[in-house]
Symmetry: C2
Subunit: 218 residues, 2 copies
């Protein structure tokens, strides 16, 4: 019985990790669409988000099934509840990639980003994708040390986000308010995506150690 249960927990973790990798792909494609005005790729991200939402429902149903059939306690219960939290975070990461793709589509055939801010989004996109991939690894490996590395990546994201605002606010900003509003929201989407990836990893740390890491991003 317990082996079947452990197998089911592994299936649940794999489902979450796969979902996380899909949000990494979504953000990679959304960023490419944003930087290059690739409408087709933006449409694909937007269409594929429904699949991520379905995976979240499926993951929750797996977790429910485990609670009903196995009535886990202690660490096993923490695993299941953390999976439910994680599924919510990962679905939200998909939504944020969707929002980036929607911004790319909304301004097409114009590019959303003036040349001087594009490199920030290239970099924020890379960090976001790496964070989602690392979160997927951490879900599979339960490697607490690996989980801690996500916090450094999230700090790098926050730094980029702050610098981005200083570019928008500088007297030499020549693109007016409209692009600044778009860029403000886009910057927020990447920052929140990173926060949710850190939250996913933090829940794994909680499962392993019984404690949430000291500070979660808000």
């Amino acid at each position: 019985m317990r082996d079947v249960y452990q197998d089911q927990l592994t299936v649940l973790a794999d489902a979450l990790a796969d979902m996380c990798q899909q949000t990494a792909v979504a953000m990679e494609h959304a960023t490419h669409a944003l930087l290059h005005g690739d409408l087709q790729l933006a449409e694909q991200v937007i269409a594929d988000d429904a699949r991520i939402d379905e995976l979240r429902v499926a993951a929750e149903e797996k977790a429910f099934g485990l609670l009903v059939l196995q009535a886990p306690v202690a660490t096993d219960l923490r695993v299941v509840i953390s999976a439910i939290h994680g599924a919510g975070d990962i679905e939200r990461m998909g939504d944020l990639a969707l929002h980036v793709a929607q911004a790319a589509r909304r301004r097409h055939p114009q590019l959303v980003l003036p040349d001087e801010v594009a490199p920030y989004f290239t970099e924020m996109g890379k960090i976001a994708v790496a964070l989602a991939q690392k979160a997927a690894e951490v879900i599979r490996s339960r490697d607490v040390e690996r989980a801690a590395t996500l916090v450094a990546d999230d700090d790098a994201m926050d730094d980029l986000h702050r610098h981005l605002f200083s570019v928008l606010m500088a007297p030499r900003w020549a693109h007016g308010v409209g692009p600044a509003v778009d860029i403000t929201l886009l910057g927020r989407f990447y920052e929140r995506y990173a926060d949710h990836a850190v939250s996913v990893a933090s829940h794994v740390v909680y499962v392993v150690t019984g404690r949430m890491p000291a500070s979660l991003p808000v």
Copy 2:
């Protein structure tokens, strides 16, 4: 045994509803601080957010205790899991009120909002507070019809949010990029606060009906 259990579920629901009412107060105060440059009130909202975070931890612990001791199934399990989701949404509402208060503090003694956008935030603040209060009621009453009314309020919030952007983007906008960036983020905080309140009510609907309402805001 079952009566004790039902009592514990009521205690959990009351804890969530109280937490929700505290986020209503936080948003009411944060909005006042924003509109009137009230630094002391902003500081109070910022300090009080730790209390909302503690209430979330306490609510999750109550939910955990119920899962371990009672191993609920069917509707009772849905109640507990929805409470865990709800606690997450409500904590986030507190964070968003905190962000509004931080914006008010950051620009003090300047006001963040030029006169022509202040009325939008007066109105968004009212809707946000009403949504949190209604969500608290719905948690206590499990009134599905009342829950449905939150969606209309959220639509009103979305309309205001869209109009706000049209003010920022209009050629007559005379306040430059800096205030537009602040206002863009603030508008997003109110909109997301409303989304989380709707999510709380939607989880109650799920408990009562076994189905999530058709569309949740993303």
